[in-house]
Amino acid sequence: MSLPYDREDELILALLEAKEPLPSAEPAEEEQVLSRLYGEVLGLVAQSVEPVAPPPQLKDALLARVRKGAPRLSAAPAIRAVEKPAATAEPPAPATPTSALEFRSFPLARPEPPPTIRKARRWPALLAAGLALVSSTGAAWFWTQAQESSNQVRLLEQKLAAVGRERQLAQAEIASLREASAGLVEKLALITRPGAAVCALKPPGALPAQAQPLARGALFVSSDHQHWYLKVSGLRPVAEGRVYTLWFMTDGGPRPGGVFKVEAGHEAEIGSVSMPSGMKAVLITLEPTQRATQPSGDQVLFGNEMLPIS
């Protein structure tokens, strides 16, 4: 997206620390898409947890709680408000009439006035019948028109929603492409900046039986010795639970740099903006867990010679 870097960052941090699930304020249009995208990222992070089946009685309790009548802020039909028992959080009912139910039902309960005895005439009855016929025909016509209008409105709303979804998809696609483009520019800048260096990674000298002799890799390091970018190829996909782990070998011992997996026939890339100081060599191992603190698995790639790129 074209938002200034700082604004986008603020938006992400605000979403993470928001007290309410969705910000109540209407964001500017160009921020809406980003807000939506990062909101969905958070929703997906939430979906990374394993579901846990609730006990059946929990649903019964919820529905009972709902029936008890929690106050609703939505635009529920008026009849519901009348039918529902008085909710605990609703404002107290006025003293007279005693309740909304009684108040609303009052006109229905009103007694009919006593019939008056008059001398009957025929023409008013005929006139009334004619008027009733005309008015009922008119009402039917208006009702039909209203139904048609209502249907048209519904169709237009559906079309509008579809257009809105398409627009969001297109904006998401543009955002992804821009991001991919920015990533490429960033990588290009990293390796073309004066002082950048590269470390070639190859399988270690003494190859065990399960070695991957075709694996190759390159670690690009920026001149600030913080930004780095690793690209590897020829690695085999690994079983579920196992991960390739990058280690920066320093005087203080190996420091984990990140974990990754590979898909068959694909290269893998990872990068970061921080690197431990005093890095002497780079090692990639195949670990049984993603939380390894020391290299203990098979050594797959190794490199210890940093060469200046330019």
């Binding site: 960052d9 992400i12 941090l13 993470l16 620390e17 928001a18 007290k19 699930p21 969705l22 807000s35 939506r36 995208l37 990062y38 909101g39 969905e40 990222v41 958070l42 929703g43 997906l44 992070v45 939430a46 979906q47 990374s48 947890v49 394993e50 579901p51 846990v52 089946a53 609730p54 006990p55 929990l58 649903k59 309790a61 919820l62 529905l63 709680r65 709902v66 029936r67 929690a70 106050p71 609703r72 802020l73 939505s74 635009a75 529920a76 039909p77 929603a161 969001q168 998809l169 998401a172 992804s176 991001e179 991919a180 974990v259 990754f260 997996k261 990872i270 970061s272 921080s274 993603q290």
Partner: protein, 198 residues
């Protein structure tokens, strides 16, 4: 059922959006259907945050009670229904966590929850939701550990960036950078999953 049913489903079942509109007009059956679709996931999230089954079940109830009351305020262009429900649940769970003052709860207890309570989800998960979970988990695992850690502390423990910096003795700026990098990487890596939710 799939986790997200924003669009009309091929089987003719109402979408999540249609259900939430029905809930807004007071339809209890619609609330019941939404519950059946998403309660297991919400309970899993609440349990991950709170660590106590009783508290997590209360949070689940609060979430759907909130849904019943506030469904009219749901805006389809701001979030998928499942996202909205999950973020409501997260917000309620973190409020509860803070009020409980269990800041000392550590990674060990989180692991214990992950290892011990995931056996009862049969019948609630589908191939699609499992696939989505696997993809998200995979992308989370792909993140460098330091980035994943700060993101999980922010999301699942509800810690602010300053609180994470204090807890880990890492400069605030570094914490923010790691969090932002993690979020941006996830947004890029999970673009197909996000598209499904739009």
């Amino acid at each position: 059922m799939t986790l997200d049913q924003q669009a009309s489903t091929p089987s003719g079942a109402p979408s999540d959006s249609e259900l939430i509109r029905a809930v807004a007009s007071g339809d209890e059956a619609a609330l019941s259907e939404l519950y059946d679709r998403h309660a297991a996931l919400i309970l899993g999230l609440a349990l991950r945050i709170l660590g106590r089954r009783e508290d997590a079940e209360e949070t689940l109830q609060e979430t759907f009670a909130y849904c019943w009351q506030q469904a009219g305020r749901y805006q389809a262009d701001r979030a998928a229904v499942v996202t909205w429900l999950l973020l409501v649940a997260r917000s309620r769970a973190i409020d509860r966590l803070r009020s409980r003052k269990v800041a000392e709860r550590g990674q060990d207890s989180l692991d214990a929850i992950e290892d011990g309570l995931h056996t009862s989800s049969e019948g609630f998960s589908t191939v699609l939701s499992e696939e989505r979970r696997r993809r998200v988990r995979e992308e989370l695992d792909r993140l460098p550990e330091e980035q994943r850690n700060v993101l999980e502390m922010a999301f699942f423990a509800g810690l602010s960036q300053a609180e994470i910096a204090a807890a880990t003795a890492i400069p605030l700026g570094t914490v923010k950078t790691r969090t932002l990098l993690a979020m941006k990487k996830l947004r890029s890596a999970l673009r197909h999953e996000i598209r499904e939710l739009l």
